[in-house]
Amino acid sequence: MASKFINVTLKVWRQKNADSKGNIETYQLAKVSTDSSFLEMLDQLNEQLINEKQAPVAFDHDCREGICGSCSLYIDGRAHGPQTQTTTCQLHMRSFNDGDTIYIEPWRSKAFPIIKDLVVDRSAFDRVQQSGGFVSVNTSGNTMDANAIPIPKADADNAFNAATCIGCGACVASCKNSSAMLFVGAKVSQYALLPQGKVEANKRVQNMVRQMDEEGFGNCTNTGACEVECPKGISLENIARMNREFLKSNLTSEK
């Protein structure tokens, strides 16, 4: 890896807490290795700020392997920055040039209120999951043998692809309607494709859609921005499948 160093100007959203008004601050950062990840670049900024006895920039991050879904950030107007299928923690500074000005903002959505600087509250996703994103099976160890029901490989693979969602919220942040339908559609799809999930499919989709609406997420108008910006490449087909599941449940539910 031939590393080189670049200088960048950062325009960062600063906001002390949920109640205060935020603004963009400008910082100069020199000697950033192009092998650094975007978050390592922010570490470097924070080290600089701390050395100047200033408050470092708060941002969510944890695994730094692109799988936990903690990191977010709107970078130069795109969720997770310029690369496709890449989380911010896996975005590297070699994607930027010497002298670049980089805008860094938090997710913007009514359902994701800002807590501080670049940190937002995504617990709405948890509550959607709690409303139905599961199979109602208790721990027993006495469920049937794992191989008792063969599942066609294509179904298993599609369920897996839907299940790779990391719950980062890029879909919501990218959508002009702040719709969470890619996130919810992925979870509904995972279970709809598996025999284990079929039993309570009707109830699940109804509950999750209701909770999604209650949280203040908007509706889908098929612009497809979510699919473009999703770091895991979750397909729009999942939204279509959720809509079919929803329609089906309206027609077949016993009520």
Binding site: E40, N138, K153, Y191
Partner: protein, 670 residues
Amino acid sequence: MSILDSKIPEGPIDQKWTNHKNQMKLVAPNNRPKIDVIVIGTGLAGASAAASLGEMGYNVKSFCFQDSPRRAHSIAAQGGINAAKNYQNDGDSTYRLFYDTIKGGDYRSRESNVYRLAEVSANIIDQCVAQGVPFAREYGGLLDNRSFGGVQVRRTFYAAGQTGQQLLLGAYSALSRQIGLGRVKMYNRHEMMDIVKLDGKARGIIARNLVSGKLERHSAHAVVIASGGYGNVYFLSTNAMGSNVSAAWKIHKKGALFANPCYVQIHPTCIPVHGTNQSKLTLMSESLRNSGRIWVPKKKEDADAIRNGKLKPTQIAEDDRDYYLERRYPAFGNLVPRDVASRAAKERCDEGFGIEANDTNEGVYLDFSSEIKSKGKQVAYAQGDHNPNEETSIRLGKKWVEEKYGNLFQMYQQITAENPYETPMKIYPAVHYTMGGVWVDYNLQSTIPGCFVAGEANFSDHGANRLGASALMQGLADGYFVLPYTIANYLSNEIRTGEISTESKEFEKAEMDVAESISKLMNVKGNKSVDHFHKRLGLIMWNKVGMSRSEAGLKSAIEEIKGLRDEFYNDVFIPGESNEMNAELEKALRVADLLELGQLMAVDALNRNESCGGHFREEYQDDEGETLRDDKKFKYVSAWEYKDGEATNSALHKEDLKYEAIKIAERNYK
């Protein structure tokens, strides 16, 4: 008489758990809502424990420092989960999984616990499939398996290279269901600051709300610590940035013994270090060793030329490559256990054959070209092309590899900007997992009554080295199938206790102590960042308490850490206030604990005058550089009792390890 009572049930090894389950006391369903249980951490062990206890009817309070329970670091586990299902008809059994795990751990784990782990492993797969976990399947619709290091069967279940994610999301879904039903109350963005004891029993915790900075008191009839391992003591590791030892360390300071702290797993296949601003290391799953062959050049001049950019690995002729694992360990080849593979890589790099152009030249190749060709041929044959040309084989082979390991190859390319389909991956060992942890008895209870410890946070199942795909197995075994029984046995004496008030003087004192330790750190107002100290601690640990340890190195590490700790308390600078979201304060509190733990790790490593598993003492090796274990003197668990701030004063308690079902032997993978 030692204070250690491991409470191993009587009877033959394969009946201990069944007998014990039959004899343990229960709590009737109508009494369970009167009982509160706190669970710290929402990884595989914590989430599965909280979900199971919630299902059973207890009032559960679950805590995680992340913004959502779904983000716990179990999510990053890649390769798979072991289970003795024998779906592949290659001779697997509960006994064999048990045996492999004991041997893999270099005969330093407790037989009864490991047998139970192997015994419940099959239930885990059944449970997860029932929950809708999308494991990889074959075309017939049945579950697929692959092989992992240190075993000769295929018993690893997987979901591409993100098995941990799928299993954790499964446990998270079970947890979410209980939260939705009101059986579990979830506290996101909360960190445990200390445990509270009443009359010697664990009765609650002090937690810090990481958004408001407020300290909170929470009471319970039992506390489960499932807070993960302590690999971040090395600063650079494959752990998440937030992974920490604090919950485990706080209970250690309040009376729980800490066992085998020196047993650290250095994982052989990680992306090599690239620079000083690097914040973490990234694992490339062990599953890749199913398909990749590890090598370095045979000639030093070739290694030199590669480092200087004058030669490419693809230009090195087959005969000039040293597939050193296949050469040294023909029976297991590239799939030797992790500690063995790591040491072998270090040996080659120390000898000057490393290929990475970084400060230390530390890196070896993991090469997929043979597998791409051979698998491509097989695929072509299955499609009816019995004599494919090389181009077709390579094309089909790449597709096959992509299906198995696609996300790993993509991640590698994002980090290194090199394409592993075309050129071999560069890898080097990195800190990954800690086998040591809080000492627990057979019931997973620590030496504090009512305080249970599960998953990586305890010491129990992996001895001196953990086999691949066994951490996920242990986390879920503890949470789904062990704790729900053993904790009930303990709680059966608590049905008359009633609600525990948080107004007692014990809670008050605990909260005041925490507030004081926070203000102590805030008021240092020095000149250096927390990371500055953490990085220096990491370097001491990696150089002197890392892959290779010596008496002199360990002694100097103990002194250096002491000096660093003094400096930390005199010169650390934490910006902002304690009554707000403050990431630097969170880090400082964690690093303060790591600065104490690091010393204990060195003390433990110094005490253990032998080499076993991940613990390699330079003084104890044979002519070929293999470990020399000393069963006469060291066939015991080292359980340390906290005395005061200095680890050198900690008291050692020994739990002798008895092997009844397995004949203890030299660990040989040749």
